[in-house]
């Protein structure tokens, strides 16, 4: 049988609501067609300044990411998803910090000629669709020259309250191996492992014909080697408990033919880091084939209890300390826009984003301003082909 191609936006819109009427709907259903996607992204951190880094490379990470995905129905009740990613990174990251003549931190970058690394990842997932929900599982493997991760996940979702409410639960586990390069030369840890387990629950509620609300909570337990092996002095606890609570509200503005997406997330862990994230996006339809999505995000976190912006080499190795800027108190603004074009069986998405982090933007008290906070530019171009 020849499937009808979904050519126009009206056809897509009218099909989706018709397919949701109970007599026609088969509850949850596998995707009706196969989608093949490819996305290329470039993530480029701004260079450091010479005033912060007296010697060595100023260049920070530059990462190219290639992502492939295949999502296809299998039989009437199953779907299969395969994800393959490949990353090339180059650049350098802060190695250790010392106090400069005026007392402000001086950053020493790792690797005079910088780091180059590659990461490859493969994940396979299967979903089974029931009349009012679905269950699924996935396994994945990721490898770089100093890191290996094996993970699996299970999730289920069920629609209740006459289709108005969807409850989802999921668990996942990841077992990671860390084997730093040049361990012997720099007296780094030679081999270590790390375990992460997480559980998540979320509830989505349709409020009325124009708006939906979602609440989610997650708990993650990490154990093992949680420090950064490449930093000269980085000693962190070997257990970490993280919680996150989030809310998402979607509102469709009929007169503007647009949707407002607002999201908030609260995070806390027992390293002492708490954070708030607030993001707003406006999904503007432009005619039948185009969509423009500007977005803005604000993020702020508190510092970890053992954060120091100047490494203390006199401290015994049994005491926790880290000068990782990601554990300092700071705030970050990011903004960007995506433009989406749908033409016949193709969808193309072009995204550009600018991110700027600074301790001055922090909503939390800053006792030790983080050194080497990152700013980056990310651009991506993706294509989806449905057949």
């Amino acid at each position: 049988m020849k499937p009808f191609r979904q050519r126009s936006k009206s056809l897509l819109a009218l099909s989706s609501t018709a397919l949701a009427i109970p007599g026609i709907a088969s509850g949850d259903a596998p995707p009706p067609q196969t989608t093949l996607s490819y996305k290329f992204s470039n993530y480029n951190e701004d260079d450091m300044s010479r005033s912060q880094v007296p010697f060595g490379s100023l260049e920070r990470y530059d990462i190219d990411v290639h992502q492939f995905r295949l999502l296809t129905p299998v039989g009437r009740d199953y779907s299969l998803q395969i994800d393959a990613n490949h990353e090339n990174m180059s650049g350098a990251s802060p190695w250790f910090t010392t106090a400069g003549t005026n007392g402000s931190p001086i950053i020493n970058m790792s690797g005079a000629s910088g780091i180059t690394d590659e990461r490859s990842e493969l994940a396979v997932g299967v979903r089974y669709y029931l009349s009012d929900g679905s269950i699924g599982g996935a396994v994945g493997y990721s490898e770089e020259n100093d890191y290996r991760a094996t993970y699996f996940s299970f999730s289920g979702q069920k629609t209740i309250n006459e289709g108005m409410t969807t409850v989802s639960v999921g668990i996942s586990h990841s077992a990671d191996d860390i084997f730093p390069t040049d361990a012997a030369i720099f007296n780094r840890v030679r081999n270590a492992d790390k375990q992460s387990s997480s559980a998540v629950i979320s509830i989505s509620q349709i409020i009325n014909q124009r708006s939906t609300f979602q609440l989610a909570g997650s708990l993650t337990e990490q154990s093992g080697f949680l420090s950064d092996p490449y930093k000269f002095r980085d000693v962190r606890p070997d257990n970490k408990t993280q919680i996150a609570l989030s809310g998402a509200y979607r509102y469709f503005v009929v007169n503007a033919d647009a949707a407002l997406h607002t999201d908030y997330r609260y995070y806390h862990d027992d390293f002492g880091v708490s954070s708030h994230t607030l993001s707003v996006a406006w999904h503007q339809n432009l005619g039948n084939r185009w969509q423009l999505v500007p977005n803005l995000r604000y993020y702020s976190q508190s510092a970890a209890d053992f954060y120091t912006n100047i490494d203390d080499f006199l401290k015994p190795l049994t005491e926790f300390q880290s000068s990782d800027y990601r554990l300092s108190a700071y705030g970050a603004f990011s903004g960007g826009a995506s433009i989406v074009a749908s033409i016949n069986d193709w969808t193309a998405t072009l995204t550009a984003e600018r991110y700027v982090a600074d301790h001055k933007h922090s909503a939390y008290a800053v006792t030790q301003p983080g050194a080497a906070l990152v700013s980056y530019t990310r651009v991506s171009l993706g294509f989806d082909f449905t057949f």
Binding site: R7, L11, L14, I21, A25, E162, Q209, N288
Partner: protein, 316 residues
Amino acid sequence: MTTATLKRYGFQAMGVPCEIQIYDSSRINARQRIQELAREVSRLDKKYSRYRRDSFITEINLSAGSKLGIKIDTETRGILNHALKCFEESEGLFDVTAGALYRLWDFRQARIPAQDSIDKVLRSVGFHKLSWQGQRLHLPAGMELDLGGIVKEYAADAAAKMARRMGIQHGLINLGGDFAVIGEQPGERPWTVGIANPGERRSMMAKIDLSAGGLASSGDYERYFELNGERYSHILNPKTGWPSKGLRAVSVAANLCTVAGSFATIAMLKPENEAIAWLEESGLPHVYMTNAEQIAGPALKQESATPAAEPAAESL
């Protein structure tokens, strides 16, 4: 093993003649199954017919103006949600809240209502005046919902879906010219469906081959009147309250009969040129008759084409 042959069963529902055809080796079995499908169609007829005092849609319409609103079930909400999408996609032309307009225009009496009364009725027309919170629907006073433009097509899809669940592989649902395919004919042969000519009811305007999905037609078939040389179609524009002056008839094939029906209805409500462009953009097979009685569309089969050898169907 006896081979399955085509069995057909006709019945009356939704004010139109209906027929279901399936391939089955057993006559008794086929009759039972088709009757079960016919019951599903009648269920929807009873629930959504505006002409029945005991229907749910009458109950909804009686609740108009009530502060409490009325509790609606998942099926009705699903239909309303689709109706909202039709309203949005047609920029307000396809509006199920225009029920009261159809009461005003009497096509049997061939009479034009007074502009005052049209204006009065229009005040309570408009999908955006409708609201629902959770399971409660609120109709403003005077509003009347007419889901007829969606429910017949939906009933064809629902019956086809039920048939597939019953294990029927080859069959066709026909509810007064709205078709839903259960599955193509054995040997991967499509169903050839005829589309009536709005000018002459007995002649055919076109034939369309259907392998999957559905086909729906909209037109001013017999339901119009002429007064002082002007033609008044029964298809009313909910913005002006006056008959629409676009195409005479249109048939559309789509992935679902419901989708085909929504496209056909919206095309009838648009000005002729816009309707033709919009149908073309949809990429769906369709055929239409213009106001000048010209028949065109990408799905038009040449009448000279040899008709597919239709097997004789056994009536049940």
